[in-house]
Symmetry: C2
Subunit: 195 residues, 2 copies
Amino acid sequence: MTEIIERLPVELPKAYRLLNHGPTVLVGSAHGERRNVMAAAWSMPLDFSPPKVAVVIDRNTLTRELVEASGEFSLNVPARAIARETLAVGSVSGRDVDKFSDESGEGNRVEAFDGTHIRAPLIGGCLAWLECRVIPEPHNQDRYDLFLGEVVAAWADPRAFRDGHWQFAPGVSRSIHYIAGGNFFETGEAFEVKT
Amino acid sequence: MTEIIERLPVELPKAYRLLNHGPTVLVGSAHGERRNVMAAAWSMPLDFSPPKVAVVIDRNTLTRELVEASGEFSLNVPARAIARETLAVGSVSGRDVDKFSDESGEGNRVEAFDGTHIRAPLIGGCLAWLECRVIPEPHNQDRYDLFLGEVVAAWADPRAFRDGHWQFAPGVSRSIHYIAGGNFFETGEAFEVKT
């Protein structure tokens, strides 16, 4: 299946808004001929402009190896429509299965497409994409599995985020927030408050 | 007004679940006779057990001064019922107003109560509370405004989180996720997927 992936650029000073509400993300990585994707509930913005992010990448993962070797990763904001795939790619190792192929027959494959600034794959079925370069901080990486990155390009599906704002069109699958044990929350009602 | 705050302890290895879905938090701090509270959208779990957290605390805030001086902070998960106060305490400095008093007459005061392991205040109207001790990492603090902490005690309102799981009772105000400009998402529908 080939999916048409609709995306528009997000201006970098607004890129933090793609993560500000705390969605679970997919981390894309590549080095040489190898590429991978894993789920991460532990990520957050770290700065506005230039935009920076922080993400925890366990030392035992293939993603860790590829991110350390390449100095790049993508953060992808999955839609509820691929919650099952999000859980799946967070539950197996890229050392054991190619998460982009359908060899398992279980239908948990995800689509990859190319970014513009990094070689790490961006993931289809997502609402937003951040292309990131690692800000090397070996002490954080070694001691806390904590990676910092600068966002060098950002994209969003205009049905979910446009003109710098989340604006979910009716019927558009929302972002998700992982809890534990296969349990998620969907991103809920938007509301505005004034002080 | 004195509020009865219902809370039960959360076992430490489950404390990450209070933040795993990416809610906006309130950061409580105290040093000497001074105390403060501010909002922070940029926090995340950093480890399971012992539980650790990461949070961004801007260098220009009173919170920063108090956290650096005391080596402690609380993370508090506000309910939608206090979204207005959450925005308010994130919009003014504790150097200008006492956010725990009602001198402004604007009704944006928050209630504070005592934790068990730290002197930083816990905040009323929240769903969960994490008492944290700073893990000193001066380079992260100075360069990225990034603070790491170990969670030394955790609590939750059993109407929202009990037995290690978020279980919002009907009618209970949910956690919130800040976007920008006074706009939030409420934590939405819970769902489970299986791989």
